[in-house]
């Protein structure tokens, strides 16, 4: 007698298999991927009378014919990992179709237990299945369950143990049905391999199913039809369907990013406070810089996405579990198909406008591998929220107010069009002879079960932290090192220290001088005084600026009167930061890359900032602040906008945005892409592919634009 039993759950999609899995294993689950593919592998443990039973939840499939990753994975698992018992979960309200897989599984010659699930739904629809008769006809044990209420779930374990202990015990059968694949073997031409033979086998299977159903299923014709007809009449309506879908997605989107912004702010603030505390507690040095900028920044960068991911997956799980997602897919399929994507690709794409990382994770819902990879590949082209600060800095810096909206809209549109083009090219290059036929099941609508939805959401969140998190963390430490080392030499540091010391020594004199200057300039500028409390950063940035105005904005953050001494000290700090970055590896790489950057109209300073943007897009703005030594900078920083305006043309400004839109997906995207695509190859292909496209396109725009 073996002590540990291994069972596999198999069944059609929407048969309630995941619910049964949850009831069997509780929260003790692990999620992994089947080797080489992105099909999720859920594994858990159940206990029955002291016996430990390991349960693998196979992906939902209609057959084992290897037409999709899911089917291949399920077939290979049954063949290679030889579970002691296969538990086939069958939707009792949809027996005829579900029994096809049952017959296919029977032909695998593994001990089989059939679980008639959702018998309550079946009864409501007037379908009565005689389990005892079914067991006799099929020749395997048949149990009845109502998965979402846990009815009959313990009995599954008891039966599994019984079957595992006596795998050869015969089940009482009335007729030993001929194996349908025998029909295939009788094919004269090939002995079971050809198309004709497969069709013969399928016809035999359905004949057998018809015979079994005739004996075991009683259907009450007067029973009320399911409500799906009426709901579908509205949700898949030819005119109403799309607006309803867009509204639903808008809701998901809003929920993800508005509701998510609170915990994100807490996480941000928490890590900020931690950094401040370390700042005070540690003495200056490399170790402190590593902990604050490398470690705390890195871990924070990972966790800050977590609220978005959790909320998004909760929403998507609910949409999927309720049955709506299949309807949405069929509505959007028409447009997505034109560029070789699937109807469901529209969901990750929309999510991608918020953040590429959860978008790529959402691409899981696509079952065709090619469609999933193409969707993930083009996702960074849907301009994410982190790129917005770059636009918010550059657009007002270079373009007049009446152009700003148009430019922003244009950038987003360029991204979408480019995504369509890239997807289409991938479609042409990678497609085999025929497109996957569009056929999906529209499951009956039902209320999502919190258990399934919740457990899956939490598991995915944890997986993100564990797998992607470690990579993001490693890259962020690496980028920290690139921008920090080699340090400034002692001589330069001493020079800056001396400058600071001098300013502090002459503090009183500087203050007096500044006060005198201020009095003078106030007098002269009194009539043309701009509003002091310009709240709108846009109007502030666009206003014709005097020097005094710039100082005002800079002082805005502390909301104190400008202290000329602090200003002077900050200027020295900024100059030191600039010198350090220039000397660092990032600065050197930026310089080394200059010949590559020139055709796009970029100099080494932009190049260095772009290296920072590899970590996260929004870092570009802060890095630009450092290279131009304007000190701490964000997108509302007027001195930085001023400096950029003085140094670059609007064409270069546009080119920067174009390049940031397309090139170098951020490290979180890189890490998640590697994980979700199942190989580093895809992450590298995406990173370098998009960067190459960005280079070519930006160069074209710059070179053509320059001639006007």
């Amino acid at each position: 007698m073996k002590n540990a039993i291994k069972i596999a759950l198999a069944g059609n999609p929407n048969s309630g298999k995941s619910t049964i899995f949850n009831k069997l294993t509780g929260a003790k689950q692990t999620v992994g991927n089947f080797p080489g593919v992105t099909v999720e592998r859920y594994e858990g443990r159940a206990q029955f009378e002291g016996r430990s039973i390991s349960v693998v939840d196979l992906p939902g499939v209609y057959s084992l014919a290897s037409y999709s990753d899911e089917e291949r994975v399920a077939a290979e698992f049954l063949k290679n990992e030889t579970p002691d018992v296969v538990v086939n979960v069958v939707d009792a309200s949809n027996l005829e179709r579900n029994l096809y897989l049952t017959l296919v599984l029977k032909e695998q010659n593994r001990p089989l237990v059939v679980v008639l699930n959702m018998i309550d739904v079946a009864r409501r629809r007037g379908i009565d299945v005689d389990a005892a008769a079914l067991s006799k006809e099929l020749g395997v044990p048949v149990l009845q369950t109502v998965g979402n209420r846990g009815v009959g779930v313990q009995e599954i374990l008891a039966e599994v143990v019984r079957v595992a202990e006596s795998p050869n015990a015969p089940v009482e059968t009335s007729v030993a049905p001929a194996c349908p694949s025998d029909a295939a073997k009788s094919c004269e031409h090939c002995g079971g391999e050809c198309e004709l033979a497969q069709t013969a086998a399928d016809v035999a299977r359905y004949k057998e199913i018809g015979r079994v159903c005739a004996r075991c299923v009683k259907t009450d014709a007067d029973a009320p039809a399911s409500g799906s007809d009426k709901i579908d009449a509205i949700l898949t309506h030819r005119f109403l369907g799309i607006p309803i879908f867009l509204a639903a997605m808008y809701l998901v989107f809003q929920l993800t990013f508005t509701l998510g912004s609170y915990p994100m702010d807490w996480i941000d603030a928490g890590f900020g406070a931690l950094a401040d505390w370390v700042d005070g507690a540690m003495s200056e040095g490399v170790a402190k810089s590593l902990i604050i900028d490398g470690v705390i920044g890195g871990v924070g960068g990972v966790l800050v996405f977590l609220p978005n991911i959790l909320i998004l997956f909760l929403a998507i799980s609910i949409l999927e579990d309720s049955g709506y997602m299949a309807r949405a897919a069929l509505l959007c399929d028409r447009w997505m198909r034109r560029v070789g994507l699937h109807g469901k690709s529209v969901v990750p794409a929309l999510v991608g406008f918020g953040c590429t990382v959860p978008g790529i994770m959402a691409a899981k819902m696509l079952s065709d591998r090619k469609e999933r990879l193409a969707t993930m590949f083009v996702l960074p082209l849907f301009s994410c929220g982190a790129r917005f600060p770059i636009y918010a800095l550059l657009i007002p810096a270079f373009f007049p107010l009446e152009w700003q909206g148009l430019i922003l809209w244009g950038i987003y549109l360029i991204g979408i069009l480019l995504a369509a083009v890239v997807a289409k090219v991938m479609d042409v290059v990678f497609k085999n002879d025929e497109p996957a036929p569009f056929v999906i099941e529209l499951p009956s609508y039902h209320c999502p079960t919190l258990g399934v939805v919740g457990v899956h959401t939490l598991e995915r969140g944890w997986q993100y932290v564990k797998k992607a998190g470690t990579i993001i963390f490693a890259i962020s430490v690496l980028l920290w090192a690139l921008t920090t080392f080699p340090n400034l030499d002692a001589e330069t540091v001493a020079k800056f220290d001396a400058e600071r010391a001098q300013i502090e020594e002459n503090a009183d004199q500087i203050r007096a001088e500044a006060a005198a200057r201020l009095a003078e300039s106030t007098e002269s500028a009194e009539s043309a005084q701009p509003e002091e409390n310009a709240e709108s950063t846009e109007s502030a940035q666009l206003a014709e600026n005097t020097e005094a105005d710039g100082a005002e904005v800079a002082a805005d953050e502390t909301e104190e009167e400008a202290d000329p001494v602090a200003d002077a000290l900050a200027a020295v700090d900024a100059a030191e930061g600039q010198a350090a970055l220039e000397r660092s590896y990032a600065g050197r790489v930026g310089r080394a890359l200059e010949p590559m950057l020139r055709p796009m109209g970029f100099d080494w300073k932009i190049g260095t900032a772009l290296i920072g943007a590899i970590a996260a897009k929004e870092v570009f703005v802060a890095q630009m602040g450092v290279v131009y030594s304007v000190g701490e900078a964000d997108e509302t920083s007027e001195p930085l906008a001023e400096t950029l305006r003085a140094n670059y043309s609007p064409l270069v400004g546009f080119c920067i945005m174009l390049f940031c839109l397309i090139a170098t997906p951020c490290m979180a995207t890189f890490a998640v892409m590697a994980r979700e695509a199942g190989s580093w190859k895809w992450a590298f292909a995406q990173w370098f592919g998009l960067t190459a496209i960005a280079w070519v396109l930006t160069t074209l725009v710059y070179q053509i634009g320059k001639t006007f």
Binding site: R97, R334, E434, P437, E441
Partner: protein, 71 residues
């Protein structure tokens, strides 16, 4: 007549499926075989037919429905 021409609410029987092996096998696993009765739930969408067959509801692209002969 093909499935793409059938009207909403009509009940038809599949005669044959002039599709590639991949297409036929996909449809077979979902319950569509010659001889089976199919109820057309909605055919008004531009590129998709919604049908009911063997107790489950399916959405088929026009590219498939046009090649399924029914009576």
């Amino acid at each position: 007549m093909t499935l793409a021409d059938a009207l909403k609410g009509q009940k038809v029987t599949i005669v044959s499926m002039d599709l590639t092996e991949l297409g036929v096998n996909r449809l077979t696993a979902l319950g569509l075989t010659p001889g089976v009765r199919v109820r057309v739930v909605d055919n008004s969408l531009k590129d998709t037919s919604i049908i009911e067959c063997r107790g489950s509801r399916l959405a088929l692209g026009r590219g498939l429905a046009r090649f399924i002969v029914v009576k």
